[in-house]
């Protein structure tokens, strides 16, 4: 046995020697046979010929010997591989195209799937995920109104014995942005405050350290401890002995007591907090930023917590919900003021959001499916193109294959060899696809986290199942098409192939140019549909990018600062901002400066319900107009005195805020509204001079109103400190504040002092003939602010245009356009190659016919035109089909298009034009070749 294995090895590794020895042996056999014949008196040539016949042909005998070897299969495989590599090296262009096509298709597919899987259906990082549910506090009278829970309510709910019977644990959490200290500066980060049983209830073991203690959870306890996410620890380079180190948050030191495990991103998937704090730190971390909701977590009327519970095994959600309803009823009886009309419901914990409102996340699945469909189409096109290229090449190799067939190569062997070639291509493409998949996953994760102040945890590496599936699909396709020539071979017969192929296929007249190649038609059609889709997305992205902001986007500079991150309190904040804006206004080159707490296209929106002053609709009435007491949800911001002049928004009527109003907190409450809101509140008359008030939470509100779909959106109802009567002193035009806004308008401004927020934006308007807003100017502004307000953390300085560009929604629109363009470009390139291949082959095939035409007097130009015309007609057929497909795609994607009709004429004319031009380009070279066919040479091929 060992001897056999040794021989096997020898046969495989030292095959050259083995083959050579065999060759020598057979040559010597021929020589010996020749000798025999010579003895009989035949001349040498005849003797040798007879000898070869006697032997049966050297190659055939060799093949028989090889067939008898035990390691036949492996040997053949090895030989096939060598041949495959040689063949691939001989035509590098084809190989490159094929491998690249496969790699892009596989890579894109796997990368997209990676993201979609993570977001939509990968398993959660904790066990029994179906048992983890979120609680929602619902208004019984208005079932579409929900709110969060207070800490008191949380304690009562989680401590209830009936609840304890069905839930193994109930946790509370909320999220906020804070400033993490990095060296001198702070960077904004997304973090969570959680109850002490957070990790325990989710059944997530910490990687290091300990969870929070119950003492640390008590509101107001303010114990400066923190648990770091694994990603945060990774950012520090996996600092050893990280537990025990200090992190500076909002200019305060916090001690690390634990590290969360890898791939845990809290209650959401893919996105998550960088740090976890105990609930006791909630007031510490939020009061600076959310100056609207003053007050401690202690208070029963502060509803600031999300509740999540883990059902006990085999307990159903319906049963648990019944228990919760009972608890809610008890709470309502015990605390009639705070818990009026509140009932509790539970729903599965959402993957992609943390929201007051329950959602079935249907839109998520839709987006996931659409993304995946896009990638799958690209893959399909890649396979089509591969098929085309392989078939064309196969046809070109017919002669070679026919010769092998004639020499005695079995059909099985030939097919085996072609399969091996196909597999080698597929594997090479797969390797490339793997790399591309990895790269694009990382790139997209990095791109996403650059635009959002959260951590993205994309499970590294690619899903092996998907990769294998995609690779398998592509391998199948490749092999299937690579076998094409072998299949065609046996049908048409060897002789026909051995003869020159010029003009061999007799096809009757008219049908000559009819598409003989359905594959190319399909490819062209798909390419056009992708091109059109990309065109639509690009149009949308351009529209979104050049959106009419209503402001002078280039002359306005935004300086974002957050006093809360610097650890300042309310009163200090106002002083700081006053000093800084005064200083900024005095900088040479600055025409005017002001301040605003919320800016359009930002990450944060605040909505407040506003109604006519004195309106007090009866509890069960349904007011239909402002006069009857209807409230309107409007976008809120607090601004400085020169705000409207600084941003270039003209006052329609009335006046701007005075300096006193903007700087002194106790001034009489005033507001400026936009004309849309003014018309809503006083449809017939003038809102100027009238009075309004903030509506209470739960007041009947008109449908609609602004709500940011990306970023943080806070709904702030009436506070006890709010005044009952606010005078409208000015009316301004309506402007757009976010990208995806169905109706523009509905905005209210209050003086900055009457709505202080620690996170605010200085607005600086440069004078018309001032130096350009470049980096040096930005630095100057920074220095001025710092000298006026030392220690104030400055987050960013950019022009308003840059601020809009960095908007997350715009990023989504642009990414969609970029992806669609990438796929479309790929599809177009593939289609061009495909058309070229088909036309080139057609010209070669019809050399004889062309020769006849020339001989009969056709001009070279005529021949060229004929080829071009045929190529274009073929493309045209595909293009028509493509247009139909494009219409279908556009309809499907219409919700993702930004202000572009699915029948946009520009996209639908430019895309086909581009395609036809590309097809023309692809046909050009073959047409030229057709022109240069020498009729004499062509006709000689008989």
């Amino acid at each position: 046995m060992p001897g056999r294995i040794a021989r096997l090895f020898r046969n495989l590794v030292r095959w050259r020697v083995v083959e050579q020895v065999l060759d020598e042996e057979l040559q010597s056999a021929v020589d010996l046979l020749t000798e025999e014949k010579l003895k009989c008196g035949s001349p040498f040539a005849e003797a040798r010929r007879q000898a070869l016949i006697d032997l049966g042909g050297i190659e055939q005998v060799k093949e028989e010997v090889r067939a008898a070897r035990p390691a036949r299969f492996l040997e053949d495989m090895a030989r096939d591989l060598r041949f495959a590599f040689r063949t691939m090296a001989k035509s590098p262009g084809f190989t490159a195209v094929a491998v690249l096509t496969l790699a892009l298709g596989i890579g894109a597919n796997t990368a997209v799937f990676n993201i979609v899987r993570e977001l939509v259906f990968s398993p959660r990082p904790y066990p029994d995920e179906a048992q983890v549910v979120q609680f929602y506090s619902q208004d019984k009278g208005h079932p579409d109104k929900f709110r969060l829970f207070s800490y008191r309510a949380y304690i009562e709910v989680s401590g209830d014995s009936a609840v304890g019977a069905v839930f193994s644990g109930v946790l509370a959490h909320n999220s906020m942005t804070v400033g993490i200290g990095e060296g001198e500066d702070s960077r904004r980060a997304f973090v969570s405050a959680v109850s002490s049983n957070y990790f325990h209830t989710l059944e997530v073991p910490l990687a290091q350290g300990r969870a929070f203690l119950p003492e640390e959870e008590k509101p107001g306890s303010a114990v400066p401890v923190v648990i770091a996410s694994h990603t945060y620890w990774k950012k520090t380079g996996f600092e050893p002995q990280f537990v025990g180190k200090t992190i500076r948050v909002n200019e305060r030191p916090f001690t690390v007591v634990g590290i969360a495990p890898e791939h845990f991103t809290g209650t959401m998937m893919l996105f998550g907090p960088e740090l976890y704090f105990p609930l006791g730190d909630y007031d510490l971390l939020t009061n600076g930023a959310q100056a609207q909701s003053k007050g401690s977590l202690e208070k029963r009327d502060l509803n600031g917590l999300f509740l999540v519970g883990r059902l006990k095994p085999r307990v159903t959600a319906t049963a648990a919900e019944a228990v919760l309803r009972g608890v809610a009823a008890n709470l309502e009886k015990a605390f009639p003021v705070e818990q009026t009309d509140q009932t509790f419901i539970i729903r599965p914990l959402p993957r992609s959001r943390t929201s007051i409102y329950p959602s079935d996340e249907r839109d998520l699945k839709v987006v996931g499916v659409m993304l995946f469909a896009l990638a799958a189409i690209a893959l399909f096109i890649a396979c089509l193109n591969l098929a085309n290229v392989l078939l064309a090449r196969g046809l070109a190799r017919r002669k070679e294959i026919a010769v092998r067939f004639a020499l005695g190569g079995g059909r099985g062997r030939i097919m085996q060899q072609l399969i091996t070639e196909g597999l080698v291509l597929a594997l090479a493409g797969g390797a490339g696809g793997f790399l591309i998949g990895l790269l694009s996953s990382d790139l997209s994760a990095a791109s996403m986290s650059a635009h959002m102040p959260v951590t993205i945890s994309l499970r590294g590496g690619l899903d092996p199942a998907v990769f294998v599936a995609t690779l398998g699909f592509c391998a199948l396709a490749t092999v299937f098409f690579a076998l094409g020539p072998a299949c065609k071979l046996t049908r048409s017969g060897v002789l026909a192939d051995l003869k020159e192929q010029a003009g061999q296929n007799p096809v009757s007249g008219r049908r000559r140019w009819f598409p003989r190649n359905p594959l190319i038609i399909g490819q062209v059609a798909l390419s056009l549909s992708l091109l059109t889709t990309a065109g639509l997305f690009i149009r949308g992205a351009l529209k979104a990018g050049s959106i009419e902001t209503g402001f002078n986007a280039d002359a306005t500079i935004l300086i974002e600062a957050d006093a809360g991150l610097g650890g300042y309190d309310q009163t200090q904040v106002l002083q700081l901002y006053r000093a800084a804006s005064d200083r900024l206004a005095a900088v040479p080159g600055v025409q005017s400066a002001s301040i605003a707490s919320i800016v359009p296209f930002g990450l944060v929106t605040i909505n407040r319900p506003v109604q006519r002053a004195g309106a007090r609709p009866t509890p069960n009435s349904h007011p239909a107009t402002a006069a009857e007491g209807l409230a309107f949800n409007v976008r809120w911001s607090s601004v400085g005195a020169d705000y409207f002049t600084t941003v270039g928004l003209p006052l329609l009527r009335g006046r701007a805020f005075t300096k006193t109003e903007a700087e002194i907190a106790d001034s009489p409450p005033v507001a400026i509204v936009d004309e849309v809101l003014a018309r809503r509140l006083w449809p017939g008359g003038d809102a100027l001079g009238r009075h309004i008030q903030w509506a209470e939470s739960g007041a009947p509100t008109a449908a609609g109103g602004g709500s940011g779909t990306m970023g943080v959106s806070n709904d702030v109802a009436r506070n006890p400190e709010d005044s009952p009567s606010i005078e409208i002193v000015g009316i301004v035009p309506a402007t757009r504040w976010e990208l995806f806004q169905s109706a523009i308008g509905g905005q209210i401004f209050v003086p900055f002092a009457q709505g202080v927020r620690s996170n605010a934006f200085f607005q600086v308007r440069t004078a018309p003939n001032a130096p350009a807003a470049d980096a040096a100017f930005f630095d100057l502004l920074r220095r001025e602010v710092r000298s006026a307000a030392p220690g104030l953390p400055i987050l960013t300085v950019k022009t308003f245009r840059q601020h809009v560009d960095a908007n997350a929604q715009l990023w989504v629109v642009r990414s969609g356009a970029a992806m669609a363009s990438l796929f479309a470009g790929l599809a177009l390139a593939l289609a061009v190659v495909g058309v070229y291949g088909v036309m080139a082959h057609a010209v070669v095939r019809r050399t004889r016919e062309i020769g006849i035409r020339r001989a009969l007097g056709a001009e070279p130009g005529e021949v060229r035109r004929m080829i071009l015309r045929e190529g274009l007609i073929m493309t045209f057929g595909g293009a028509l089909l493509g247009l139909l497909l494009a219409l279908g795609f556009a309809r499907a994607f219409s919700s993702m298009l930004y202000q572009v009709s699915p029948l946009d004429p520009v996209a639908f004319t430019v895309a086909p034009a581009v395609l036809m031009a590309a097809a023309l380009f692809a046909c050009w070279l073959p047409a030229r070749r057709a022109m240069s066919v020498d009729p004499i040479v062509a006709l000689r091929y008989e």
Binding site: G3, R4, A29, L32, L55, Q60, V61, A68
Partner: protein, 110 residues
């Protein structure tokens, strides 16, 4: 290609080759001639069957090969029976006789 004949002859071919080599080492062509000789012209083994068989037996260790000068001083690959080859020859002879006995009995009885 005489595929059918090869199948039938494969078991017997090995026996014939071993027998042909039992006297003295021979090269491929000579083995073919010897087989024709010892079967009194009945079997003309094609080289497409002979060489694979030789190589197979060489793999199995029943024959050994060596390059030598032929009668006319040409280089040829001579095959020689090994000791296990001789043993194998005995086994094959015995098996063949068994088969002949069985087949004869079967044919005569029916």
């Amino acid at each position: 290609m005489e595929t059918k004949r090869t199948d039938l002859l494969r078991g017997t071919l090995d026996l014939l080759v071993l027998k042909a080599l039992s006297l003295e080492p021979l090269h491929g062509v000579a083995i073919s001639r010897r087989i024709t000789q010892i079967t009194r012209g009945a079997f003309q083994v094609s080289f497409g069957s002979l060489f694979p068989s030789l190589h197979r037996m060489e793999e199995k260790g029943w024959v050994e090969a060596e390059w030598r000068a032929s009668e006319n001083n040409r280089r040829a690959k001579y095959y020689r029976l090994t000791s296990s080859g001789r043993a194998r020859l005995k086994v094959e002879e015995r098996d063949w006789n068994e088969v002949v006995k069985i087949m004869t009995a079967a044919v005569e009885s029916a």
